[in-house]
Symmetry: C2
Subunit: 350 residues, 2 copies
DNA sequence: GTGAAAGCGCTAACAA
DNA sequence: TTGTTAGCGCTTTCAC
């Protein structure tokens, strides 16, 4: 591969002149410029990105670490970040961790080790992450999305109103007339899970209901989790008439399990999700869910990062983004026949 | 940020000794090793990735350029590549181009400019890409997936049996008894589109049927494309009884449009897709489609690239991966009532 | 306007 | 085993 020296030699100038040519400070004699242009073309020269980064101390590139692009939620956030970054002349390098702590650590290191990106956005799934803490400590420009990482210095973070969303979802179910409302949640140590759980409990309490701990199951943001939760709820002596799934992926599992067990949604069981991934509106029935402001999340995070890079202001900023309850057709009033049915079952059980 | 020199100074050794410590060639006096370790810890030192890449000439990182991770197809390929790469000790940097030629070019440049990745996999959507050609010409290790790029030197490529898949899909519809079979395709200049179209035509011809050009519409691999195609097909004097969608995304649009127009799938219209994205089996009715070997595509591409990097063998290799027709419930025999209905309509039209 | 020289932070060859 | 030196490919003062 050709280098600046080769080009310089061939054009009969100094490397620094070639560098100036490349960087557009065109106070060059036309003749020289032309000779350089020719040399570049015949040598098929392209500047070495890493050498340039090392010399200039910047890369005009940012990073984004996500648990998994197969989850539409993260995929959309990624595209949003990419759009904004490229609009500002930055390239975006995406890192997929599959939610594995070890991979997350590896990518945090890679990106924070310097030179390859100027800063990055971290959308993680681990409430603890020592290497992330260390990177922040070292002063790397990092923005965290929707998670509170323990044991790290304060860092700019984009939050989503998980509490409010869960509250609205649960209240919706309450207003429909449900009294036995279950929660099928993600990993209990995640901040998002805890906040959504808190919003759920608060709505119940405001309505004057007791919260039954047997009605809350925590596993993961996955279909299997929803499937399992359904089975366990049905095994209860007094099964819930509605389930709040703290992620649409979980709701998908609920749908599948309900179909297998011959229960109809919403007639026999009401379901409300969280996220509003694109499939949500295509399900049968379309899923009532709490919509996360996907575009805002990506934009806000990118904006925070770019601002930090350009203004060299490293005081942490926090944002809380609003959510919306999207009412579709997966939740309705508990039917009389179902109540009847339940009563009869209970009688039989005695 | 601390550098090797700082660490060396603090530990009272030479920079090269620190470097050896870092790179695991631990033939160091325990005392010295300990001093270095201490210095690293107190200084919070981490080696500068880019400086190291520049010095060693490698990054142990590979790149992957895709049109869009919001398309599950690409998202799964990406995760597969990531898994294999990390199993071999490589990191994976993903670039999302949104299918924009300009962004594709920018990322091709970024990755081929040297130092940031050792090589990359290109899953593009443009039959022409000058910058990709230039990068290949320069000898960058690049693997192309499922597209033939015009005007570039031969390059290792992973193909999928688009022709065979389309042939099987169409034959399936033929065997069910359909005679008016339409094709709703992606961009006409894409090799995947052309091959799937060719497979479709071949199946028709083998069955002794004429291929009606009015029955093939080309637009893009998107829902809107399917929606539009449906409308245009229905406007035909003699609408098709079955549609082969050359991507599941297109089939999604067909489903939506059919629902809007009160047509039931498969009773009133049979549909076969291509890709087998995860939602396919969750649709109502589950989609009959041609499954692409997602895991194999990612693995094969990654394997080709890693082999190229390790063995320094730059003769192009080609692979063609098989596909499977997954029969579910979106295609059935054209119903008698529908035939009747059609006949009546035709009579009215005369 | 252009060239010479120094240096970004690291590793690797060679000496010691 | 450890230190010295040179250099990866580029940019950027500072003279000319």
């Amino acid at each position: 591969m050709a280098t600046v020296r080769d080009v310089a030699q061939r054009a009969g100038v100094a490397p620094s002149t070639v560098s100036r040519y490349l960087n557009g400070q065109l106070r060059l004699t036309p003749l020289i410029a032309e000779r350089i242009g020719e040399a570049i073309a015949t040598l098929q020269y392209v500047p070495h990105a890493v050498a340039r980064n090392l010399a200039t101390g910047e890369s005009r590139t940012i990073g984004l670490i996500v648990p998994g692009v197969t989850n539409p939620f993260f995929a959309f956030v990624a595209e949003e970040v990419e759009a904004l970054a490229s609009a500002h002349g930055y390239s975006l390098l995406l890192c997929n961790t599959k939610g594995l702590a070890e991979r997350e650590g590896a990518y945090v290191d890679l990106l924070s080790r310097g030179g390859i990106v100027d800063g990055f956005i971290y959308v993680g799934m681990h409430p603890r992450n020592a290497r992330l803490g260390a990177a922040i400590q070292r002063g790397c420009p990092i923005i965290v999305v929707d998670e509170r990482i323990d044991g790290i210095p304060p860092v700019s973070t984009v939050f989503v109103d998980n509490y409010g969303g869960a509250f609205a979802a649960t209240r919706h179910l309450l207003e429909l007339g449900h009294r036995r409302i279950a929660l099928s949640g993600g990993r209990e140590d995640l901040m998002t899970t805890r906040e959504r759980h808190a919003g759920y409990r608060a709505a119940l309490e405001v309505a004057g209901l007791d919260v039954d701990p047997a009605l809350a199951i925590f596993a993961s943001y996955s279909e299997e989790a929803g499937h399992d939760a359904f089975v366990r709820f049905q095994a209860l002596p007094d099964p819930p008439t509605a389930i709040f799934a703290t992620a649409d992926a979980i709701a998908l599992g609920l749908y599948a399990a309900a179909a297998e067990h011959g229960l109809r949604i919403p007639d026999d069981l009401s379901v409300v999700g969280f996220d509003d991934i694109p499939v949500a509106r295509r399900l049968g029935p379309p899923l009532t869910t709490v919509r996360q402001p996907l575009h805002l999340i990506g934009q806000a995070a990118c904006d925070l990062l770019l601002r930090r890079l350009q203004e060299r202001d490293d005081t942490p900023h926090y944002m809380v983004l609003p959510v919306d309850l999207i009412v579709r057709h997966s939740a309705s009033a508990p039917s009389a026949t179902k109540v009847l049915h339940m009563d009869r079952e209970q009688i039989q059980l005695r």
